[in-house]
């Protein structure tokens, strides 16, 4: 349970970090919070030749809120994003999801952007970014590019980030006016990866009738899957909408895999039940907003 040897790089500016990543190429990994990477190293599931530790790079730890949403820098810790009241007011799904990320001690060190870069389809922040239609910014010595969540997550632990690129920030857009969100999940033990998790967004019109209902799923697909469930509940109020029907609709659209934690059938069942629960809660939050 000790990490394999690697060459250590500790840049203090973004330019130095990008140069280092360009130099080490495919044999390098970025070290930010390390709460996913270091367990992989300790268990010898990964053995990169070089680690580029970006923790000393200035100017990457911001959480900034504007009319468009919340922009989270590469070194903002989960705990900092979770504690940010302005971010929670602009995009409530952030705090709703972050309180489910592992344990507080892990959130003290782990970074939100690092979790996105890790692209684990069991991670709450990947689903939050996907549900909101957010984006990430990748930088390299060749320049910067913005990648939408839909294009970023490619497979389990696989993103469209290229060799030499560093994820410098993520943008979580504000949900549309009249929207509410919710995040719910079920894990075998407190703080574990969820067997299934659902992030939901429900939008109501001025008469409090549902105009849109979407949900994003953890741990049931190779990428954070987003489903549009509007057809099941459109035109109804939060009190009269049949959210259970929306859950049943999901059952036919998912094809989860089973593992030692939960069978495929059980995960599909959880997705159905948690969908109804998350949509109902999101609709309630939309009324209160």
């Amino acid at each position: 349970m000790k990490p394999p040897p690697f060459a250590y790089h500790a840049p203090t500016t973004l330019a130095e970090a990008l140069d280092a990543l360009a130099d080490v190429g495919t044999d390098g990994k970025v070290l930010a919070g390390g709460q996913s990477l270091i367990p992989l190293l300790n268990m010898r599931l990964a053995a990169p030749g070089h680690l580029v530790d970006v923790n000393g790079v200035a100017g990457l730890d911001h959480v900034s809120v504007d009319a468009s949403g919340v922009r989270v820098g590469a070194l903002a810790r989960h705990a900092d994003v979770e504690a940010d009241d302005d971010a929670a007011a602009a995009v409530p799904l952030l705090r709703q999801g972050l309180r489910l990320v592992a344990h507080p001690v892990i959130r003290n060190r782990g970074t939100t952007v690092g979790s996105l870069a890790h692209a684990d389809p069991s991670a709450e922040m990947t689903a939050a970014l996907a549900l909101l239609g957010g984006s990430v910014t990748a930088a390299s010595t060749a320049g910067r590019r913005t990648i939408s969540a839909a294009d970023f997550f490619v497979g389990p632990l696989e993103s469209s980030l290229r060799t030499g690129e560093l994820l410098v920030d993520a943008h979580f857009p504000r949900p549309p006016a009249g929207s509410g969100t919710a995040f719910t999940e079920l894990a075998r033990r407190h703080g574990d990866y969820a067997m299934c998790g659902v992030a939901a967004l429900v939008t109501l019109d001025d008469d409090l009738r549902v105009t849109a209902a979407r949900a994003a799923y953890l741990s049931v697909a190779p990428v954070p899957l987003v489903l549009d469930l509007t057809e099941a509940v459109a035109g109804r109020t939060p009190d009269t909408a049949d959210f259970d029907a929306a859950g049943r609709l999901v059952r036919g659209r998912l094809d989860p895999e089973g593992d030692i934690h939960a069978t495929a059938e059980y995960r599909a069942h959880l997705a159905e039940v948690l969908t109804a629960r998350a949509l109902r809660e999101a609709a309630g939050n939309a009324v209160r907003r």
Binding site: P3, L31, I106, N108
Partner: protein, 178 residues
């Protein structure tokens, strides 16, 4: 191939230390092996058990999920740093002793570091909040009942001491030694 070594300076419990380590030396191993601070216990080494928790700039952090080289420039507090210099135990340590919050003691350093930080931000937790606060730490003796009692008792001791201190209205949590 011989591994590259790094000369590092760490500030632990208020004292400067130096060590020569490979980059892959975990902070937990550096504390124990290079600095001789064996109060920090190493359990699972992948961030699940919580036994190795130390405070980095005040925040509880898994020392098995951090490299010693990355800890430079930060203030590290281990379980050895909780008591006063004169040996007076930290309120959380006293509460764990009073409430029998430890059995074999292996997990205890992690609980103490986590709870000491938690109570600074949450001086008056409910029992449910106390359970949540220690939710990331495992006790394989399963002594959780008394651990939860100890968290609540520690909060009580802190409040009593804050009230008894000169200028006693000063809230527990303010003017804390971090």
């Amino acid at each position: 191939m011989s591994e590259e070594l790094h000369e590092i300076r760490l500030r632990v419990n208020g004292a400067e230390h130096t060590a020569t380590v490979p980059a892959r030396r975990l902070l937990s191993d550096c504390l124990r092996q290079d600095l001789g601070l064996t109060g920090t216990h190493v359990g699972c080494e992948h961030g699940v058990c919580g036994a190795c928790t130390v405070r980095v700039d005040g925040r509880p952090t898994r020392s098995c999920l951090m490299f010693a080289v990355s800890a430079q420039g930060h203030e590290i507090t281990t379980v050895e740093g909780l008591a006063e210099p004169d040996g007076t135990l930290h309120p959380v340590q006293r509460a764990f002793r009073e409430c029998h919050g430890l059995q074999c003691g292996f997990c205890t350093p992690g609980f103490l570091t986590v709870v000491s930080a938690y109570l600074e931000d949450n001086p008056d937790p409910t029992e449910e909040e106390a359970r949540e606060a220690v939710g990331g730490n495992l006790c394989r003796c399963t002594g959780y009942q008394n651990i939860v009692k100890a968290v609540l008792r520690a909060a009580e001791i802190r409040r009593e001491e804050a009230a008894a201190a000169p200028g006693g209205e000063r809230a527990a949590g303010a003017g804390e030694r971090r």
